[in-house]
């Protein structure tokens, strides 16, 4: 069993309940193929760094799960055919993870936040805000590194 991060971007004009439905469906796929969802985070609508399918914004969803390759194969097959999904990316975070560690981690996380799906918004407008500040900011901040 390996641990993966799957990020996918749903069109921003999809209504909220439909987004929940989509996320549930993908969680279901993981569960069906004997995978375990460690966490599912909805980042909310963010500005895209470049347009995808003529859209400037998208709803980001992160699915952190443990599973084997069939899970990914099935997820990606579905994502590919889903017209509401603009982009997806799977990244392997760790291989050969032990279920005991994952359970421990999930138990720890549950204690803090009881609800199943967290509505996490890690600064949704950072992209937009950074975009505005970026042209001037980008270079000087990199320079800071060299000054130290």
């Amino acid at each position: 069993m390996n641990r993966y991060d799957l990020i996918f971007i749903i069109q921003s004009d999809v209504p909220k309940d439909e987004i929940d439905e989509i996320v549930e469906r993908y969680r279901g796929i993981v569960a069906n193929l004997k995978g375990t969802v460690v966490k599912a985070e909805k980042w909310g609508v963010r500005r895209l760094a470049y347009k995808i399918e003529k859209q400037g914004r998208g709803f980001y969803v992160l699915l952190d799960f443990v599973g084997n390759t069939p899970v990914i194969r099935e997820l990606e097959r579905n994502l590919k055919f889903d017209d509401k999904v603009l982009r997806y990316q799977t990244v392997k975070r760790a291989s050969q993870v032990s279920m005991a560690d994952i359970e421990k981690e999930m138990a720890g996380a549950k204690k803090e936040k009881p609800e199943e799906i967290k509505e996490v918004v890690p600064a949704p407008e950072t992209a937009a805000a950074a975009e505005a500040a970026a042209p001037e900011e980008a270079a000087p901040s990199a320079e800071e590194g060299s000054k130290e």
Partner: protein, 84 residues
């Protein structure tokens, strides 16, 4: 390049020691899901800033490069920022 707003770097023969930020600060980790940090390491055009300038160590620069590329793939960072 931003001109005029930074001191001129020292001339050759006198080089300032640059320290890798990620080595100094263990709380800072390289994460492709965090475009805020990664933004410091791309130019205003969206290009990855070389190690020579940022002062990162080889290992962290390598991790950073991968993270930036992943972030680009999911539109968290731009591939290019075109003029106008």
């Amino acid at each position: 390049m931003a001109q005029g707003d930074r001191p001129r770097p020292e001339r050759r023969g006198f080089h300032r020691r640059k320290v890798c930020k990620f080595c100094t600060d263990s709380n800072m980790n390289i994460e492709y899901k965090d475009p805020g940090t990664l933004r410091h390491y791309v130019s205003e055009k969206g290009k990855i800033i070389p190690r020579r300038i940022t002062g990162n160590c080889a290992r962290h620069q390598r991790e950073l490069t991968i993270a930036i590329k992943r972030a680009r793939a999911i539109a968290l960072l731009p591939f290019v920022v075109s003029e106008n």
